[in-house]
């Protein structure tokens, strides 16, 4: 078992008011699974992804990652987990604008303390795997939306993470480009990666093996589609 949430609850405090991001969520995900997360806006999809990606901590409940209780890790440990085990893909790409594609892809390895030649080699390979060998020295503003998201995917996979988290990766792309991105995720899954994909689009969600639907911070349904 790669991921286990037990009665996972995340409460935001907003001006004294409690807002439930997640409420008593129980969930298990196996290594190698391809999971889509769906649900209306505000249902807790991003909250769940942030928790799973070590960007945020639970208010109560337990998060067990690869057999280890990681519910209350120190800031330093969280950063280490983010760096070594997670590959994040965002709706808005979140590339650093003044850096070239290859420098962006290099970043996780810098925080890992890798040597420069190792970093550059891995970054080149990652960019090649998303078909961007010709665009390595372009800056984000010199790339199309689809190309930017492919750079972001390269950055997510460059450190061989155990879990790839994608929060509406096609949300800012047209349908055809979105399809390309999903193709890449599919192939990553085929290569053995564990992927959790948040999306609003049914036809995209159907690429996964399993669809989890959230509503008001709770799991409404959890079905295997393949």
């Amino acid at each position: 078992m790669l991921i286990q949430l037990e009665r996972a609850t995340r409460i935001y405090l907003l001006g004294g008011e409690k807002i439930y991001g997640l409420r008593d969520v129980n969930l298990s995900i196996e290594k190698g699974e391809y999971v889509s997360v769906m649900g209306p806006s505000g249902s807790g999809k991003s909250t769940m992804l942030n928790i799973l990606g070590f960007l945020d901590r639970l208010t109560s409940g337990r998060y067990i990652f690869d057999g280890e209780d990681v519910s209350s890790l120190s800031e330093e440990k969280l950063a280490r987990y983010r760096n070594r085990t997670i590959g994040f893909i965002f709706q808005t790409f979140n590339l650093l604008p003044r850096m070239t594609a290859i420098s962006n892809v290099e970043l996780p390895l810098i925080y890992r303390g890798e040597r420069r030649d190792v970093r550059l080699k891995s970054a080149r390979e990652a960019l090649a795997s998303v078909g961007l060998s010709e665009r390595m020295y372009h800056r984000p503003n010199e790339l199309s939306g689809g190309e930017r998201q492919r750079v972001a995917i390269a950055r997510a996979v460059v450190g061989s993470p155990s879990l790839i988290l994608a929060d509406e990766p096609t949300g800012n792309l047209d349908q055809a480009t979105g399809e390309e991105i999903i193709q890449i995720l599919d192939s990553l899954h085929t290569a053995g990666n564990t992927i959790i994909l948040v999306t609003h689009e049914e036809f995209i969600a159907e690429h996964a093996d399993r669809i989890i639907r959230l509503r008001d911070g709770r799991i409404e349904s959890d079905e295997r589609v393949r």
């Binding site: 960007l55 994040f88 979140n94 003044r98």
Partner: protein, 409 residues
Amino acid sequence: MTYAGVRESFRTAISSLRVRKTRAFLTILGIVIGVATVIAIVSFIAGLDRTVEKEFASIGSSVLYVGKYPWIWTGKWYDYRRRPDITVDIADRLRERLTYAEYVVPEISDNGNVNYRSTTVEDVDIVGTSQDYIYIESAEVKIGRFLSEMENVRKRHSVVLGWGLFEAFGSDQKIVGRRVYIDGRPFKVVGVLARRGKSFGQERDNMAYVPINTFLKYARYKHKSSVNIRVKGRDIAEVGLLREELISTMRIIRGLKGYEENDFSINEMSQLLDMYASQTKNIYLAMVLIGALSLLVGGVGVMNIMLVSVTERTREIGVRKALGARRHDILIQFLIEALVLCWIGGVIGIILGFLIPFLVSAVTEFPFAISIKAVAVGFLFTTGVAIFFGIYPAAKAAKKDPIYALRYE
């Protein structure tokens, strides 16, 4: 933090400063001014120190000066004015009695006109002195000879010309033995001194030397007729003994009783050196203060631009954290940015700080010396400012919560 991270931070810092060139430039202006001030002052003073040391060394420290007035006044001027004049007679008696003295030379000077044939040189330093002047000054006779003892005793109208006068009169070797007129009075030229150059910025070639007794015969103002006596010791190591002997002998000559204060002054170069040291220390302090103040202003500017930068790049911080940056990675990244900013200012400041005294000394004759100490001080100052004013914005950046930072528009 790894070496890789530091390198990357430098690159990020430079590219992010490039984006806000104008603002960064304005910010570092304070640093530039501060560092330039410190460096310029330190170089000026180092140059001055060197010249002063050289000059003092050339004069030698075993010379004491007996005068009516002290060089550094500590009392009221009229107390000094009331003192009896120092006379040539005193010099003669000192020469007889002082066992630690090698030379005792009386000296007095005034300005006058010197005329030779159709040429008149105005504003010449006319020095009345005795035969040993040439030894105590280590001057060199080029043509003829220097004044003799007999010429003083007899109050002869003899004159030795400085090199400048000699040239002004046409460099005529045959001038020796001829007559020149000092303020209308005829004097026979007995010799010409070799070129002496400058000392403490004072011209020493536009001079004429006459027997001091002759000089005093014509002294224009009675109150200006007190002479100065230079006493050169036999040995630098015995200056203390010479001073004691000189003071007690002067008191005997003046017939002072035990309770009476000295009615003369013993001056020496080391007093000036001390005064110079304490004066430059004050200038030093004032300038360092100005420098520090500009650095402070610059530092506040650095803090401001860094705070703006941290806010503008909130999302970047979020992304970096999502990719695994730890707090101290972010902290060091922004500290390095502040350092780069300050070091650029520091380097420009150091260059300016050297350029200004260099140009000044090229145009004027002001001394100039490059001081490695100044560079070190400038560098340390800027680094200190960068860390002191950069730490708060950097800490602020490091503490940002990744999920809030990632949502920041």
